[in-house]
């Protein structure tokens, strides 16, 4: 069955069963992945999938489902089960109807690339290129993942929405290890084969690993720090994710009650841009079918908006920002406004501080306050008089989201699109330069 046929079947059946409102997304995809470690390929994977996601509302109650069993009989059974579930749900006092269509959607260039869709076994060559570059640049053992694929999606709603499109994507992460704890990482991603630069990712990973060969322990304290692009991507994914009104209303955001307030230094502007050419998160419509648009989340340090779907917008007495998520609004492409310095000039501004290329394992003690810590890795260096002096080990980033935002002093001018496996807050991509922040807290183990 074609995705459109499947979506039409669901819409027809659900309305026939008495649902007031229905939204259905059918997605057919073929995804592939080549993983590698110790300079060898460890596994090659292919996923074939046709899935359907359904939103039903009746009498101000909401239920949802995701189904990978797409036999017509199974779908009909699932819809009946959904209606039974609706019957025992309670009304939502903050219920809002789906947006009334039809809408027109301007196409976004660069989201589908036949060469990428047909890459197949040639992916092995790209992996080989990345590994070789990482080894040449100083890595001893190289690991990583090349993931790529295509999907075709269709969205239908009972409010006259019909939207769809196909897209391709690829992400390559390369991690090089030089010796024990010495490691570096490089990434490259895009919607087109020509966007991928395996040599660059490999070279960066190998170079950072080599630079980390001599590691020294530093004491705890507040340091000026330049965040590398992978680290910045993880940080701004958190920032953008925390502006989702769902998290704001759940105590999982440090931006609650801060609309219109200064939440960052004046150097910080962050945009959600679903219409970016060749953006990994670009899409002409959200999950409710509303046409998407570019918007400022934080501009010159001031929090401009939360991200909304129709439900959260009603709760907040505003209009949707076209960031649905049926339940949880989410960012599309997070764009961090670049500065005016080269990477080297930014480094030159640090008299004594750190360069932190990557952060992972971010965990919060208090989401509402923004207190967190994170593991730093894959290129952590002491910077003195604008130059990288030596690798540093044993430190942990321990600070607060709002403190770091307020301490940003400068950004470099070269922004790159980053996909990072640790972006837990739902951003498909973050486009970010290097970021310099002052007096950021770092701690060490005591025993």
């Amino acid at each position: 069955m074609e995705p459109k046929e499947l979506a039409e079947l669901v819409l027809r059946e659900a309305l026939g069963l008495g649902a007031d409102e229905v939204a259905v997304a059918a997605v057919r995809s073929t995804s592939r992945q080549v993983r590698f470690a110790n300079n060898e390929i460890t596994v090659a994977k292919t996923w074939d999938s046709l899935q359907v996601h359904v939103y039903l509302a009746k009498d101000r109650r909401i239920v949802v489902t995701s189904l990978s069993n797409v036999d017509p009989g199974a779908i009909k059974e699932a819809l009946k089960d959904l209606m039974s579930l609706l019957a025992v749900m309670k009304e939502r006092p903050d219920y809002a109807p789906l947006p009334e269509g039809p809408f027109t959607y301007e196409p976004i260039p660069g989201l589908y690339d036949k060469a990428l869709a047909e890459l197949g076994e040639k992916a092995v060559d790209l992996v080989e290129e990345a590994i070789n570059k990482a080894l040449e640049a100083g890595g001893k053992r190289v690991a990583g993942t090349l993931a790529f694929g295509e999907e075709e999606a269709i969205l239908l709603t009972s409010k006259n929405v019909e939207a769809g499109g196909r897209r391709t994507r690829a992400e390559l992460v390369v991690r090089a290890l030089a010796d024990g704890e010495s490691a570096g990482v490089g990434t490259t991603c895009g919607t087109r084969l020509k966007d991928l630069d395996p040599a660059l990712a490999g070279e960066e990973a190998g170079r950072f690993a080599k630079l980390s060969l001599t590691l020294e322990a530093l004491g705890p304290g507040k340091y000026d720090v330049i965040f590398g692009r992978p680290a910045s991507a993880v940080f701004f994914d958190i920032v953008a994710g925390m502006t989702s009104a769902f998290y704001v209303d759940s105590g999982l955001s440090c931006f609650t009650n801060k609309l219109g307030q200064k939440v960052a230094s004046e150097f910080v502007s962050i945009y959600d841009d679903a219409r970016l050419e060749a953006g990994l998160g670009s899409r002409p419509f959200d999950d409710e079918g509303l046409p998407t648009a570019r918007k400022a989340i934080i501009e010159d340090g001031v929090l401009k908006t939360y991200l909304h779907n129709s439900l959260t917008a009603k709760r907040h007495g505003t209009t949707s920002t076209a960031n649905a998520g049926w339940i949880v609004p989410r960012p599309w492409n997070v764009v961090v406004r670049a500065g005016d310095r080269t990477d080297e000039e930014l480094l030159a501004e640090v008299k004594k501080g750190l360069f932190v290329n990557n952060i992972t394992y971010v965990r919060f003690q208090d989401y509402a306050k923004g207190d967190f810590s994170a593991v730093i890795r894959d290129g952590v260096f002491l910077v003195e008089d604008g130059e990288i002096r030596k690798g540093v080990k044993g430190l942990r980033l321990s600070d607060n989201v709002l403190n770091i935002l307020s301490s940003v002093r400068a950004l470099s001018k070269e922004a790159r699109q980053v996909f990072h496996w640790w972006m837990e807050w739902g951003s498909p991509a973050v486009i970010t330069p290097l970021v310099l922040a002052e007096k950021v807290g770092f701690t060490v183990p005591t025993k």
Binding site: Q33, V43, V70, S84, R141, G251, R396, S398
Partner: protein
């Protein structure tokens, strides 16, 4: 679609695979979410499909599909083989699997009260009843402005077949309660508390858990910490860690670094490697009172299984025995590298994921003391009962846990609450500081994430109350 699993193995062998396996899943999960008293959403996920793995010329291929289409199956199996073959040139050493008995079995987790027989109304009402308690300051003694409550019930039916003759069918129902609450006290700020409890059981688990009472007690304690919590002491202290903290610490600092695929570098790109190397087997890592096991065979546990997702019969693994590094977690690939048998640690979170080395239920074995005995000879110390923030570096050497519910210990007695004591310690520092354990073994549930794409699998974490000597608390 189940019959296509057998066909997939046949096809793969005909097309030139040296080994093939297929796993059919019919996974169903229902969820109910209440946010700040609003029935945010309810619904279900139903995933059905087949995952196929092949070994070809020493290279590994994987594919999955969810449509019962023979033509599609044939195409995807052929492609898995050709992708594996193409990647074989990028291998210096061929991948091999350890020799294992071809098991034929059928097993099921036993349930007293199937969740599908419990009226839907009762499940929603339970969440509303909890919310009612949390919003009554008379009940919990503190204002709780944010409340996220969730019930999850699932059933995983699996059929595994491989080209060596193994055939295993299983059914595992699970149930989970999750909550995340924020307590607020003017001038004192906020504190948050997360609870995750789960089991491979039926609704009887939720009844026994008594979530209303559990959250009432935890939220009262949280309010007390928020109102009365003092700063932790600066100098070296003795520390008692509660079961919940010990469980997560052994999961993170013993379970993960003893996963043989991490040790051998296969997860280096994302999750990372391990400070442990193969030649450290037999070396001392902790004091003699420390024994840590991982045991999938605990009936009713969240990480329960009798055969892993490579068809190998499960058993208890002694990771640390009397303070000595004793055994790693293996699948058939890592076991073959060391020339040993797998200890059945291969798990896949769904039909569309490859089985990789995972934990099941990881816990420190209890001692024979009472909690009071651990406390009575501490002059100055901290009792950290539950935790909030935590993390550990990618080699699993440098970890940090911040206490949520914590108390000062003075002259052998537990006193008032302490706010946010930070335990930032190395792995050998932790295991080398333990001098006593009490007899109260307890477990909590978690969803452990690993792999790319990430695979979340249900696990239990556990331990007794544990005493550490002479540790300085961390932070700036």
């Amino acid at each position: 679609m189940k019959d296509l699993a057998d066909l997939a193995v046949e096809l793969a062998l005909k097309m030139g695979a040296d080994y093939a396996e297929a796993r059919y899943h019919d996974d169903r999960a229902n969820f109910y979410v209440l946010r700040n008293g609003v029935p945010e959403v309810a619904g279900f996920d139903r995933a059905r499909g087949i995952g196929i793995r092949v070994l070809v010329q020493g290279a590994l291929g994987f594919t999955s599909l969810n449509r019962p289409d023979r033509g599609l199956l044939e195409r995807r199996v052929r492609e898995a083989i050709s992708m594996a073959r193409a990647s074989a040139r990028m291998r210096k050493k061929p991948i091999r699997f350890s020799e294992e008995k071809a098991e034929e079995a059928s097993w099921e987790a036993r349930v007293k009260e199937p969740t599908e027989e419990v009226p839907l109304e009762e499940k929603m009402e339970l969440l509303f009843d909890i919310d009612k308690v949390l919003t009554d300051p008379g009940e919990v003694g503190v204002h709780v402005p944010f409340r996220l409550l969730q019930l999850l019930e699932s059933r995983s039916e699996r059929y595994f077949v491989n080209s060596e003759g193994a055939r295993i069918s299983s059914i595992v129902p699970r149930v989970e309660f999750f909550s995340m609450i924020t307590a607020l006290e003017p001038n004192r700020g906020t504190e948050q508390d997360m609870v995750q409890e789960g089991a491979s059981r039926g609704w009887e688990f939720i009844r026994e858990l008594r979530p209303i009472e559990l959250l009432r007690e935890r939220t009262r304690a949280l309010g007390k910490v928020l109102r009365e919590g003092v700063s932790p002491p600066k100098g070296p202290v003795d520390i008692i860690l509660g079961s919940e903290v010990v469980g997560l610490m052994v999961h993170e600092s013993c379970g993960h670094p003893y996963e043989a695929d991490r040790i051998m570098g296969r997860e280096a790109a994302q999750a990372g490697e391990s400070f442990v190397s193969v030649d450290m087997l037999g070396q001392r890592i902790g004091t003699e009172v420390v024994t840590v096991v991982d045991d999938p065979t605990l009936e009713g546990s969240y990480g329960y299984y009798l055969y892993d997702d490579e068809g190998v019969k499960a058993r208890r693994r002694y990771l640390i025995k009397d303070g000595i590094i004793n055994e790693f977690l293996h699948n058939r690939e890592t076991a073959a590298v060391l020339g040993i048998s797998s200890n059945a640690a291969a798990r896949a979170s769904g039909f569309d994921r490859e089985p990789i080395v995972r934990m099941a239920n990881t816990f420190m074995l209890p001692g024979d003391h009472e909690l009071e005995e651990l406390v009575e000879d501490i002059k100055l110390g901290i009792y950290i009962k539950t935790f909030g923030e935590w993390n550990i570096d990618d080699r699993r050497f440098n970890m940090r846990f911040i206490g949520r519910e914590a108390y000062l210990i003075e002259k052998g007695e537990i006193r008032g609450p302490v706010r946010r004591p930070i335990l930032e310690i190395t792995t050998p520092g932790f295991y080398g500081s333990i001098d006593a354990l009490d007899k109260n073994l307890a477990f909590s549930a978690a969803t452990c994430g690993k792999g790319d794409p990430v695979q979340g699998v249900p696990v239990w974490l556990g331990g007794p109350n544990v005493r550490l000597r002479n540790v300085r608390l961390g932070g700036l």
